[in-house]
């Protein structure tokens, strides 16, 4: 099956053609903000990181920056920096250039202050938005797509309607040769043995058990037994009783395909098929990680209703019940509550959702895109978080 996408110089396929203003540290948030106010066609986000980070924590943050700067949904990137960040800014710019992006690197230090940085950024953003029409959509196989799967604000319906329907989409995409990412390790707790059985090798199975153990141990270090602290208050109100129940519902969104590999946060899958990315359960940090890892699109099921999106990737919002769909129609793209209402089977809902995904890949706007949602968050693993 083919979709219409942008083939980038590095061979990767984009489904959007964004001009991204990328602030690599909090020192330049306001500059990014002023630029997009003057060039509203460009996208940006608020970043509270990028300074006073070290070690594995810094590496992970840089992986997110590089993942965004080289992302196939991005046509051009204005990299904004303070100039005193503890890492090589040129390297990020060079990676983006190597990926075929139009790149402008602006540092507060080099241009002489905020006002000049804003002027320079506006000029670059205007140039990129004027030029981006040169990139045209063309037929590309669906196998080039990486889908990020996500559930947030889960309720008792999530594991019955929305997540199994998303599982159907994941299986259909994998059957086409594409890639699907399952993440939020916190919500694999209690279901890890079932996933391990689906691993392609004993090594992958061991890795699945390892990442679940690791997140539990991290919580223990905070003096919290996560099996007691989860589910979240909103989940309980939505009818979920235990973390195991939440997890068993959660993993339905990964369908039934074998698990090819386990990757770290914001890492790019090296294999097609179903993969697991180790992320926290936090919706936005998870979403940011999957998109940085190359997901061109995300499907996000929600029981309680969530409005969130991503600056550079379309996020399709799926309600797990008709009440939430009706109540938050401005934010939600798809109603899987039809399964609960007895109007269609999981398989039918899944096929309908797959069709919507194809339309969005081809350019149809999601509700989160129309409303300009741009949530962003990096998962921090440092001593100081």
């Amino acid at each position: 099956m083919d979709i219409q996408g942008y083939v980038r110089a590095d061979g990767r396929v984009g489904v959007r053609n964004h001009v991204l203003i990328l602030p690599v540290s909090y020192e330049v948030n306001q500059i990014a903000d002023r630029i997009v106010r003057q060039v509203p066609e460009a996208v940006t986000f608020r970043n509270q990181h990028g300074i006073d980070q070290t070690g594995a924590d810094l590496e992970q943050t840089l992986r997110v920056y590089e993942g965004f700067a080289t992302h196939p949904n991005v046509y051009g990137v204005v990299i904004l920096a303070w100039g005193h960040e503890p890492y090589d800014l040129q390297r990020i710019a060079a990676k983006a250039e190597a990926a075929g992006k139009k790149v402008e690197l602006i540092t507060l230090e080099q241009v002489g202050g905020m006002r000049r940085a804003i002027e320079r950024g506006v000029l670059a953003a205007q140039r990129f938005t004027a030029e981006r029409g040169e990139a045209k959509r063309q037929p590309v196989p669906l196998s080039r797509i990486i889908l990020g799967t996500e559930c947030g604000g889960s309720d008792a319906c999530s594991g019955i309607s929305g997540n199994p329907a998303l599982g159907v989409v994941s299986d259909l995409l994998v059957a086409e040769g594409g890639t699907s990412i399952l993440s939020e390790t916190t919500e694999l707790i209690g279901a890890e043995h079932l996933l391990a059985e689906r691993a392609v090798s004993p090594e992958v199975a061991e890795r699945i058990l390892f990442i679940v153990r690791r997140i539990e141990e991290n919580a223990m270090k905070m003096g919290v037994d996560i099996r007691g602290a989860q589910p979240a208050p909103g989940n309980i109100e939505g009818g979920i009783t235990t973390i195991e129940e939440k997890s068993l519902g959660c993993i339905h969104k990964a369908g039934s395909a074998p698990i090819q590999e386990v990757i770290e946060y914001a890492e790019r899958p090296s294999k097609n098929g179903l993969v697991i990315m180790d992320t926290p359960g936090h919706d936005i940090e998870q979403l940011t990680g999957m998109v940085a890892g190359g997901a061109q699109i995300v499907i996000f099921t929600t029981g309680r209703g969530t409005p969130t999106g991503c600056p550079i990737a379309p996020v399709i919002k799926v309600a797990t019940n008709s009440f939430t769909y009706q109540r938050m129609k401005d934010n939600i793209d798809f109603n899987a509550g039809t399964v609960i209402d007895g109007e269609e089977s999981v398989d039918d809902a899944g096929r309908r959702l797959f069709q919507l995904m194809v339309e969005v890949l081809n350019g149809a706007q999601t509700k989160a895109e129309i409303l300009g949602h741009r949530e962003f968050g990096i998962y921090r693993i440092g001593q100081s978080l």
Binding site: Y26, E27, V28, N29, Q30, I31, R34, R37, R46, Q48, I51, D52, H84, L108, E109, G112, G113, M114, R115, G153, T186, I215, N218, A219, M222, V224, I226, A229, Q230, A232, P233, G234, N235, E237, G238, P280, G281, H282, D283, I284, R304, G305, T306, P307, T308, T324, R327, K329, D330, L371, G372, H373, E375, G377, I378, Y379, R380, I381, S384, L385
Partner: protein, 311 residues
Amino acid sequence: MNTLTAYRRADGQVGVRNHLFTLPAVVCANQVALDVARRFPRLKYVEHQHGCAQIGADLLQTRRVFSRLALHPNVYASIMVSLGCEAVVAKQLFTETQKLASKPLELVVIQDAGGTLAAEKLVEDWLEARIREADALVREPVSWSDITVGIMADGPADERRGILTAIVEALAQQGARLVVPSRHTDALRAVSDDVPQVAWGDGADARAFAMQEGSNALETATGLTAAGAHLIVHLADQPHGFGTPLTPVVRWSVNEQVYNRFYDDFDGQLVDELDVPRLVEQLSRVVSGQETAAEQMGMDDFALYRIGPTV
């Protein structure tokens, strides 16, 4: 020069600004705050990635700081925006915060309102009524003893000790209350034998106290605001692009070359102790309403100091 003016609030708080503030209780509520602030530039807001998947002491610290920001003396009224399913449990946070003050406070829950646009409408209706009330307030004479000054500095603490001590002594002589990040505790010892140490973003019942700093300068500035600083003096050896939405940041350069290159991002230059009276004089004008460079540029930023991992 010695006539300070500020807003006296019904509950006895003194504010050097009269802000209206929107606080998203969770990352999922950012867009509501952001969109309304675009349409009503008068509205102050923060954008952040927290409030969900936090546990233990880290969650408690976040709740404390959110509550203290909503009640900040520079704020006339605050509105919290929650999604409805977050770990911070905004409804509980809201009722607990409400018990602590007589400031106008409101809570909008996106899931109850019916989505982003419906929630924005509720925030806007609230805001329009509060703007009228806030604008009816006028500045009145206050004294330095009503004012808390936060002081932070770039670079190694021992290199800044001399100049910081001079500033601390000058402000203490005027009667101001002082809070500094813990690395500068020594500077406070010049004016107080007993310097209480508080956690990041917490307050103290003392005329001079030190606060545990964040992992970077923006977290420290956010913490000083939550600790109760009405304004923040930032001695900088580099140019910066951040401020805080609720407290004016008064940024003076301590490096002449940096100042010469980036003078319009700074409020002044401090060469030695002889410049301190000039700084104090500027602070009195900032207290009384003069905008700082960070305020003019709208450098409203926020960073939460996290002490535990996201789960």
